[in-house]
């Protein structure tokens, strides 16, 4: 007798639980539990009871004190300003370059498309740490052919300034992430129905016109998603400034929110670090919401 529908379904419950258990077990332990613990930590402060020596440290409930402390710390607020400015510089440039390169790859003139894709993607597999070290050397005056060339053209590149530091980090991250987005945009472009492009060609639109007014709007979804992921990644910026600050001296210990959190953790201010992490998460959620909202609004206009 073939298994009845309900028998099959019951058998599926068990096997579904078996298949998903390893993931959820790890996910609860190493993602959800830490989030909960982080919430608890953000409301407490470690204090040593008694008069110093011999006292076991204990967690004292301090309400929202850690949050007010973070939100009134000009260094923490400054880190958001820096990262905001960095996003304004980095994201349009990186996404713009990626889009232009993808459109060029998709044009009828491009040769060796596969080779170019691989070459452009290459920096993305280089660890951020090593990429940052390479570029730090390439930013060092005397060592760097790039800085020498810029100075020859009369463009002073002063890493010791705030603008120079943001430029240095943005150039590094653009180098690392452009290729990834080229691949994604190119794949999306390949999915644009050929009839649409042929129709515009017959209508007499030139290649540039087709690229900009026909193809680019059709991959809007992929671009918005790329912007969203880039915002989320960029606001958590850590490794790159952590290394580049050897060359760019204005990058301090609280240059980005993640650097600020790291520095609190190293100072064993866990409550402060947890509160700052949660504030960063809320800002990230708001930023993601704004990106999706803004793009939807744009689509209806």
């Amino acid at each position: 007798m073939p298994p009845t529908r309900s028998g099959l379904a019951r058998r599926q419950y068990g096997v579904a639980a078996l298949f998903t258990a390893p993931f959820f077990l790890l996910f609860f332990t190493f993602t959800l539990a830490p989030i909960g613990y982080g919430g608890w930590l953000s409301l407490h402060r470690e204090q040593t009871s008694g008069l110093g020596l011999g006292g076991e440290p204990e967690q004292v409930f301090v309400g929202l004190d850690n949050f007010t402390r973070a939100l009134t710390d000009p260094r923490f607020l400054g880190s958001f300003a820096t990262v905001g400015l960095y996003c304004l510089v980095y994201i349009p440039i990186m996404i713009g370059i990626a889009l232009v390169l993808a459109l060029l790859l998709d044009s009828a003139y491009a040769r060796a498309k596969r080779f170019f894709q691989l070459a452009l993607y290459l920096p993305n597999i280089v660890p951020g740490l090593i990429a940052a070290m390479i570029w730090t050397y390439l930013y060092t005056p005397g060592l760097s052919p790039i800085i020498d060339a810029l100075e020859k053209f009369g463009i002073p590149f002063n890493l010791g300034s705030d603008a120079g530091a943001i430029g240095a980090v943005a150039n590094l991250t653009t180098w690392m992430h452009t290729g990834y987005n080229v691949i994604i945009f190119f794949a999306a472009l390949q999915a644009v129905p050929r009839e649409v492009i042929e129709a515009s060609t017959v209508d007499g639109a030139g290649q540039i016109r087709i690229a900009w007014s026909v193809k680019a709007p059709m991959i809007r979804g992929a671009v918005v998603l790329a912007v969203l992921f880039t915002v989320i990644g960029a606001m958590q910026l850590f490794t790159e400034p952590f290394i580049v600050r050897d060359a760019a001296t204005t990058i301090d210990q609280a240059w980005t929110p993640s650097l600020y959190i790291y520095q609190l953790t190293k100072a064993y201010d866990m409550g402060g670090a947890a509160a700052a992490s949660l504030i960063l998460t809320v800002v990230l959620a708001v930023a993601s919401f704004l990106v999706t909202r803004f793009s939807k609004k744009g689509a209806t206009l």
């Binding site: 073939p2 599926q12 298949f19 996910f27 390479i134 570029w135 992490s277």
Partner: protein, 309 residues
């Protein structure tokens, strides 16, 4: 040809004495100076130089001694001492670098194998099985995709320190295993690669679900497994923040953190550490390049499945 086109593109070479036909249109387009074969490929080539040159610099730097690093140009060869640098790299501190490489293979390689398997299993279950609250559970996975590492890292560090797992292999290995994005991809791939009808047929034949998975579904999901492995491997190899917080015993360091430690020590002995750092960085990238090129058939499928839905 529409008049607007001739208006907006006066540069197109249109000879007035010939009628405008399809051939003419093709002609005028290829004559557009702004976008020709040469310009398109030239821009692509320039972009490629920009992505490849810093890596070329690293390759050249890895062949130099400390003095030549500063005295010769970044893109010119001096006395090539790559072999000496490599010998120094692998023998320094009783083969410390080799130890870091092995650690990275454990954290990233074994970690990615386990993690990909976990993701495939869960993704397959979400795609093929019916169970109560399925979409709500999947919603939880999607929320997990958006959780920034910043919120979990600090509490994880404290949890590990309460359990005595800081400065311990498992403290770095275990937290990286659950990948919500991997489960999401697993479900997408399972939908794409494993036809429902095939499973129905084996179910009617009375094969158990486990056997069906291993013998029918998993072979079809092998490309998905390779994609997830590639992502997990690069992610694990490049992880920095977590090991930086968790580990203080340099024998447990992954290669990235080890290189960072050398970098911190650089001013104590520049003659020693500069070549170590350059050659070490180059060697540390090689496994990624090998993994990438040997699995390149899969990466694009993974990238695009994840981003273009």
């Amino acid at each position: 040809m529409s008049p607007s086109q001739t208006l907006t593109r006066p540069d197109a070479a249109v000879s007035p004495d010939r009628p405008a036909g399809p051939a003419e249109r093709r002609r005028s387009r290829s004559a557009t100076p702004l976008l020709s074969k040469g310009v398109v490929n030239g821009v692509l080539l320039a972009a490629m130089l920009w992505t490849v040159l810093p890596l070329t610099w690293l390759v050249i730097a890895a062949t130099k001694g400390y003095a030549d690093l500063y005295q010769t140009g970044g893109f010119e060869f001096a006395r090539v001492q790559l072999w000496e640098n490599l010998v120094e790299l692998f023998t320094f501190g009783d083969g410390l670098f080799l130890r870091w490489l092995l650690n990275s293979f454990l954290y990233a390689g074994v970690g990615a194998l386990v993690s990909s398997m976990i993701s495939i299993l869960a993704g397959y279950a979400f795609d093929k099985f019916r169970f109560p609250g399925k979409e709500r559970w999947f919603g939880l996975v999607l929320v997990g995709v958006l959780v920034p590492a910043a919120v979990t890292t600090v509490p994880l560090y404290l949890m590990a320190s309460d359990l005595g797992l800081t400065n311990n292999f498992w403290g770095v290995f275990l937290p990286g295993l659950a990948s919500p994005f991997g489960v999401y991809l697993g479900r997408v791939f399972s939908q794409a690669y494993v036809p429902d009808e095939l499973l129905e047929a084996t179910r009617v034949d009375g094969a158990g679900e486990l056997r069906t998975f291993w013998q029918i579904a998993f072979p079809l999901l092998r490309p998905a497994f390779a994609t997830l492995f590639l992502f997990g491997f690069t992610g694990g190899w490049n992880a920095f923040f977590m090991p930086l917080l968790m580990l203080s015993d340099h024998n447990l360091y992954p290669v990235g953190l080890g290189l960072f430690m050398w970098r911190q020590l650089i001013n104590t002995d520049q003659d020693l550490y500069y070549p170590l750092l350059m050659t070490g960085s180059l060697v540390a990238i090689l496994p990624l390049i090998v993994a990438f090129f040997s699995l390149q058939r899969y990466w694009k499928a993974g990238l695009t499945a994840g981003a273009v839905k």
